[in-house]
């Protein structure tokens, strides 16, 4: 639809502008302010320039947590995207069964994030949880509170449980948009199941997959609540991701300058990805 050029439309977006400026711009300015000062108390601050930034970029704990974060996000994408596509392909095409599938798939997405942590905390315990108990009965020595590998595995499994349905839902809505004629043509050509997927379904899923990948990357990149409740970042710091490192620094240790500098670096990474996301979407809208 062609849009009318009219700058008076600014009046309509003004409320949003003011509200988001209040809740985003003012706090962000505070962060910038902190990141260049060393603060000992109210009215007792010194300008230190880029010292905190250099400090942060050299900090080994942060580098480790950044590395863990990238590893986690990569693992999340590698599992959830293919699994989500597979689930979407298996879903019924219509009717009451499809509606039921949609709703059951959506349930994990509607659970408060700390409750997701609680569910898995209970479910994975060796003594009272079905999952932990089952693994131990099968002869694995599984204890997510003591063993870093088990903790890492449990957090990953929890995220797969929590967010694969999102990928599946997105792919499902992408698949529904493919006209029936495409499949009929494939049938006439005696195309194999794989050929149908590779040459008809996958290209048509491109747009929803771009959205799914970027959403999953960004949301897993700022994961906080679920691992915080499940493992508390432990054992040691094996499941401490970026948000938790930052939160500990800012609220736990009140290390304002360093936390602020870290925040800005973190934010810039996310902003870069958001920009990619936005470019991809506007590109898609143009095609539409």
């Amino acid at each position: 639809m062609s849009k009318v050029p009219d700058n008076r439309a600014w009046w309509l977006v003004l409320p949003v502008l003011l509200l988001v400026a209040f809740s985003a711009l003012v706090p962000l300015m505070t962060v910038v302010n902190y990141s260049v000062q060393d603060i000992f108390g109210p009215g007792n601050a010194y300008y230190v320039g880029t010292e905190w930034f250099r400090d942060v970029l050299r900090d080994q704990r942060l580098q480790e947590s950044l590395l863990r974060q990238f590893g986690f996000s990569a693992a999340v994408l590698a599992i959830e995207i293919p699994l989500g596509i597979a689930v979407a392909l298996m879903m019924p095409k219509g009717g009451i069964r499809a509606s039921l599938c949609l709703i059951l798939l959506a349930i994990p997405l509607l659970i408060p994030w700390n409750v997701v942590g609680t569910i898995w905390q209970i479910f994975a315990r060796g003594d009272i949880g079905l999952f932990g108990w089952g693994l131990n009965e099968l002869g694995f020595s599984y204890n997510y509170t003591g063993d870093p590998v088990a903790a890492w595995f449990t957090v990953l499994l929890m995220d797969v449980w929590h967010w694969t349905p999102l990928v599946a839902l997105l792919c499902y809505s992408g698949l529904r948009a493919i006209p029936e004629a495409f499949y009929q043509a494939a049938e006439i050509d005696r195309a194999s199941r794989w050929a149908v997927f590779r040459y008809i379904q996958l290209p048509r899923l491109r747009n929803v997959l771009v959205i799914a990948v970027l959403l999953r990357f960004m949301d897993s990149f700022m994961i906080y609540t679920e691992p915080f409740v499940l493992t508390g970042g432990g054992p040691g710091s094996s499941t401490t991701f970026l948000s938790q490192t930052l939160t500990t620094m800012a609220v736990g240790q009140f290390d304002l300058g360093r936390a602020a500098a870290f925040s800005l670096v973190y934010f810039l990474i996310v902003l870069l990805v958001s920009w990619l996301f936005f470019t991809a979407i506007t590109h898609m809208d143009k095609e539409r």
């Binding site: 849009k3 050029p5 009219d6 439309a9 600014w10 977006v13 409320p15 949003v16 509200l19 988001v20 209040f22 809740s23 985003a24 706090p27 962000l28 505070t30 962060v31 689930v87 298996m90 949609l102 798939l105 959506a106 349930i107 994990p108 509607l110 659970i111 408060p112 994030w113 609680t118 569910i119 898995w120 209970i122 479910f123 003594d127 009272i128 079905l130 999952f131 349905p165 839902l169 997105l170 809505s173 959205i211 799914a212 959403l215 700022m222 609540t225 970026l242 938790q244 930052l246 939160t247 800012a250 609220v251 925040s263 973190y266 934010f267 996310v270 902003l271 958001s274 920009w275 936005f278």
Partner: protein, 271 residues
């Protein structure tokens, strides 16, 4: 494989996936109906000693049920604020081109993508300094950070589906803009508004980090009360499970109405 066999194996696959998906939730539900004694004495696949005591604790202890009330209050406040500001803005983005529109749209999106942890400390200080710490409105305003962009994006999608001829016809009939917007336009996209409201509700309801940081006693959300209980030496597993079940209920009760728009909502209106 014949077509019938193929569809049967697909049905089996999806059933298996959904059963696996539901098992952890079943475990929570199962535990919420057990006594602590039964929970700790061994594994049972369903409650042998069925009890509603865990739920009774929550509904009779103010320190528990006030958490639900607090969460509800700030979620509803957030929903009202978000819809009021997002409706005109989404209309502007869907109908007009104006200076800086693309930049503004991107800036809004970047707020949805910003890690809440980044805003934690400044939010805490900002709301403390203006005397809003531990009030419902503080959490409601903080959640606007990600809900306003979401609402603008979803609504913009729905509004773009309404041809502009309707707007022009209403103007010719002599409606003023506010009158047209409320009396003619909003009813036309009422399902879109409903879906948007659902997602605003959801995202505010599931968030913990900001809600916990901006409150201490008077406006503490249920999510924070649950984590606090876990810190105590003896964990009351049964009550914890019951509290968890009760936080899942609101979403499950209304998801049926938005089932065809679920993907759209989670993808910021872009599917």
């Amino acid at each position: 494989m014949s077509i019938q066999e193929k569809s049967r194996s697909r049905g089996l696959g999806i059933t298996l996936f959904i059963v696996l998906l539901m098992t952890p939730i079943y475990w929570l539900l199962n535990m919420s109906f057990k006594t602590n004694q039964e929970i700790l004495s061994g594994l049972t696949l369903w409650p042998n000693d069925f009890t509603l005591d865990n739920y009774r604790v929550i509904f009779t202890d103010p320190s528990w049920y006030s958490g639900y009330i607090n969460s509800m209050i700030y979620v509803v406040m957030n929903m009202a604020i978000t819809l009021v500001v997002a409706l005109p803005a989404a209309y502007a983005f869907s109908r007009y081109r104006f200076i800086g529109d693309k930049h503004l749209f991107f800036w809004l999106l970047s707020n949805r993508m910003a890690p809440p942890a980044v805003f934690l400390l400044p939010f805490f200080q900002l709301y403390s300094s203006i005397g809003l710490f531990d009030t419902h409105i503080a959490v409601a305003l903080a959640h606007c950070l990600f809900n306003v962009p979401l609402a603008v994006w979803i609504l913009e999608g729905f509004m773009s589906g309404v041809p502009r001829e309707y707007d022009e016809m209403a103007y010719i009939d002599g409606h003023s803009f506010p009158r047209f917007f409320v009396k003619v336009f909003m009813p036309m996209i009422s399902s879109g508004i409903g879906v948007t409201a659902f997602f605003i509700f959801m995202f505010s309801w599931v968030e913990l980090l900001l809600a916990r940081t901006l409150t201490s006693v008077d406006a503490q959300p249920i999510a924070a009360i649950m984590t606090r209980t876990m810190g105590a030496s003896g964990i009351d597993w049964g009550v914890l499970a019951a509290a968890g079940v009760l936080t899942i209920l609101p979403g499950v009760l209304v998801v049926w109405f938005v089932r065809n728009h679920v993907a759209r909502g989670f993808a910021l209106g872009r599917v």
